[in-house]
Amino acid sequence: MLLIHCPYCAQTLPELEFTYAGEAHIARPDASSPVSDEEWRNFLFIRTNVKGPHYERWRHSHGCGRFFNAVRDTVSDRFLITYKAGEKRPELSDLLEKSK
């Protein structure tokens, strides 16, 4: 079982309390200006599907109930970092250096 650090609870807790919520940092197109079909399709459906470190959202659904972001290696399932929703996207190069 994965152990996930919740940045709100400040505890490392079992995976069963959490729910995966897709890729993180996907900005919704500004709907106040005309949005092309292509932009809208990209927002709805196009994901990076990376092999390696992946920026993704999680929700501590059976706990504090908060959404937060994480960087997880999709090959090894190792979490490089978890951080609160709304915080700046951490640079991958810094994370990889730190994890060495």
């Binding site: 709100y8 807790l13 079992p14 309390e17 706990g63 504090c64 109930g65």
Partner: protein
């Protein structure tokens, strides 16, 4: 031993040397949501300093509060005290917007006591129970069901379960008790 009735009549569900489980009498329960800046005002109104660390508990007289999330608290109090609490919060509502929702009927509470209590909880709860400090608690999961666990002592716990899930969780706990007693 007593069977769980559809009315959730309080009483002993399992008794034994290893662990005993009982359904507790109904209490008044509230869910409280508010902004961090308004914590002092609401604390004064309800008469308990709201804890801000997730999992921390505070109590004063009959009122017990657990911090469930950054902006979420669960309050339990005596059924006779609920009117005072509702009125106190309503009085400050105009200055301090918040949400106090009566969820008394949503959950039932079981108490789990005895040297086997930690082992019993570990059959359904993936958390490391030993890491939950005495006098604190957490919202966690028990066999797929969201529950609130209060640790009152080394081997004394209370588990709040949503009413509709209670027969499932209590049934599993009774099976676990039988297994622990047979060891």
């Amino acid at each position: 031993m007593m069977a769980l009735t559809p009315e959730f009549t309080p009483g002993q569900l399992v008794s034994g040397d290893v662990v005993s489980v009982s359904l507790m009498a109904p209490v008044a329960r509230f869910s409280l949501r508010l902004r961090a800046a308004d914590i002092p005002a609401v604390s004064t109104a309800i008469g308990v300093d709201l804890p801000t660390r997730i999992g921390a508990c505070a109590h004063h007289e009959t009122v017990e509060v657990m911090c469930l999330g950054p902006d979420e608290w669960q309050i339990q109090t005596d059924a006779n005290d609920s009117v005072r609490l509702i009125n106190a919060c309503a009085a400050i509502y105009a200055q301090v917007p918040h949400s106090l929702t009566d969820i008394s009927a949503r959950e039932v509470t079981i108490s789990i006591e005895g040297p086997g209590a930690v082992d019993l909880l570990s059959i359904g709860c993936p958390r490391d129970i030993d890491k939950i400090a005495i006098g604190t608690g957490c919202r966690t999961v028990f066999d797929g069901v969201s529950t609130v666990l209060w640790r009152d002592g080394e081997t004394r716990f209370r588990l709040d379960i949503w009413r509709s899930f209670a027969p499932h969780v209590i049934g599993l706990i009774q099976t676990g008790c039988a297994e622990l007693a047979a060891q």
